[in-house]
C-alpha cells in the first residue's frame, strides 16, 4: 500500500491508498495523488468584481467565477459549506469545463477575468494553474479568492499566472484559527507576504464575528501588521458576519462594530479601509487619503460614482491611487 504525502498546504496530509486528504478532493488512487475536481467545477457564476470583493482592481467589471467541491479549512461559519465541506463524490452538481472551455466562456460573456473562488481554490490548484495560464494568454485577468492556507513554494509558482488575490485574514489570533477554522495563523501570514513579494495585487478581508474576533486591540495589531508587511496602501475590508452553518448561536455583526474596526485600522496607518455587507454605508466607498475626495462611490456591488482620472489619480490633488484601474 503506497501512502503519499501532500506538499500543497500546511496540513501536510499523509494519505494512504484509497483515502483522500483533509480537503476531501485530493485522493490517493493506486499510489498516485489525483486532483479529482480538475475541470469539474460545481459552481459557476458571472459576478461583479466588487463581489469578490476587490475594490482597487478593474472596478465595475464582470468576472467569470468558478469553484469546485472541497476545502482545506473547516470554518464553523462557512457560507459555502454545501460546496466546501463535501468531496467531489458527495456533490451531484458538476459542470465539466476544461481550462480552454472556461477561457472561451469568459471571453464569450465579455468578462474582464476569471476568478477562482467559492470554495478555496488551493484545493483545485492544478485546475487554477492551467486555466490561468490560458486566460492570461487570452488577455484575461486571474483572481484568486483564498484563505491563503497554502505552502510558499506552490504559491510562488502559481503567482506567476495570478493578477490579483483576495486574501481572507480571519483573525490575528492563532487560537481563533485553531478553534473556528481548524487551521493555524502563521502560514496564512506567510502566504499573504508571498503574494506581495510576487507582485500580485492583494486586498485583505476580515469577517468580524461578535465576541470571537471583534476585539479592537487585536484589530489594531492586525492593521499594524498589514502596514508593516504588506504596505499601508493594501485595502482592508471588514465584512459583516451572518449566522450560518455551525455558528448560528451568534448575532449578525452590529454595523457600529464594523465602523469602529474601520476607524481603528485607519488610525493604525492603513489608507483604504472598507466596510462590507452593509448596503450603502459610507465605508464602502473609496476616498482620497490626502484630501477626502470621493473617488469611487459604491452601494452594494454597484458603482454609483467614478471620479478617478484615466491614470488612476485623484482629480483634486492628482495623487496616484494604488490599484489596477480601468
Amino acid at each position: 500500500m503506497s501512502a503519499v504525502a501532500c506538499e500543497l498546504c500546511p496540513r501536510a496530509c499523509v494519505i494512504p491508498e484509497g483515502a483522500a486528504g483533509d480537503c476531501r478532493v485530493r485522493v490517493n488512487i493506486g499510489g498516485k495523488l489525483r486532483a479529482t475536481t480538475y475541470g469539474r467545477p460545481s459552481a459557476i457564476h458571472i459576478d461583479p468584481m466588487e463581489k469578490k470583493p476587490l475594490y482597487h482592481f478593474h472596478p465595475g467589471t464582470q468576472v467569470f467565477s468558478l469553484g469546485t467541491a472541497g476545502c482545506n479549512l473547516h470554518c464553523l461559519n462557512c457560507q459555502n459549506w454545501q460546496l466546501s465541506q463535501r468531496g467531489g463524490d458527495e456533490i451531484e452538481e458538476v459542470y465539466p469545463a476544461e481550462p480552454a472551455e472556461v477561457v472561451a466562456a469568459a471571453q464569450g460573456e465579455r468578462c474582464r477575468g476569471v476568478a477562482y473562488t467559492y470554495s478555496d481554490p488551493v484545493v483545485f490548484y492544478e485546475y487554477v494553474e492551467d486555466t490561468a495560464t490560458l486566460a492570461r494568454a487570452a488577455g484575461l485577468a486571474n483572481v484568486f479568492v483564498t484563505a491563503a492556507y497554502i505552502n510558499r513554494e506552490p504559491l510562488r509558482r502559481l503567482c506567476r499566472v495570478l493578477d490579483a488575490a483576495h486574501g481572507d485574514l480571519k483573525a490575528f489570533d492563532d487560537g481563533f484559527y485553531r478553534r473556528v477554522s481548524g487551521a493555524t495563523l502563521r502560514p496564512v501570514l506567510d502566504a499573504l507576504v508571498t503574494f506581495r513579494e510576487e507582485g500580485v495585487w492583494i486586498e485583505i478581508i476580515n469577517l468580524v464575528i461578535p465576541t470571537l474576533n471583534d476585539d479592537l486591540a487585536m484589530i489594531r495589531r492586525m492593521a499594524r501588521w498589514i502596514v508593516a508587511e504588506l504596505g499601508a496602501d493594501t485595502p482592508l475590508h471588514f465584512s459583516r458576519f451572518q449566522p450560518q452553518y455551525r455558528m448560528r448561536n451568534l448575532p449578525p455583526t452590529p454595523v457600529e462594530t464594523l465602523r469602529r474596526a474601520r476607524a481603528e485600522a485607519l488610525d493604525a496607518g492603513l489608507r483604504y479601509v472598507y466596510v462590507g455587507n452593509v448596503q450603502g454605508d459610507v465605508g464602502s466607498s473609496t476616498y482620497c487619503p490626502r484630501d477626502g475626495t470621493l473617488l469611487i462611490g459604491r452601494s452594494g456591488f454597484t458603482i454609483t460614482d467614478y471620479k478617478l482620472t484615466a491614470e488612476g489619480r485623484c482629480p483634486t490633488c492628482n495623487d496616484k491611487i494604488p490599484g489596477v484601474w480601468l
Partner: protein, 82 residues
Amino acid sequence: MITLARHWHRRDVRFLALIAMTALLIALHLGEGLRLAAREGSGHRVIDVKALERRIDAGDLSDREADWYHLATPQESGGGGP
C-alpha cells in the same frame, strides 16, 4: 463464614481485574488519539473509493494526477512505509 469471605474475595478480584482492564483500554485509546494528534501530517479521510472511481469513469470527476506530492517515507507514514 470462611466460605463466604472466599466467595467475596474472588468476586472482588474479578471486579478489580475488570476495572483495571477497562482503565487500560481507555488509556490505550486516549494514548493512540494523542499520538495521532501529535504526529504532524497524519490527516486523511476515509472515502468510498469504489464510488469515487465509478464517478471518474462516468466523467463526473477527474483522475488528473496532482502536483506537489511525494511517496510517503516510513517516518511520514507512521513506520509502515510506502
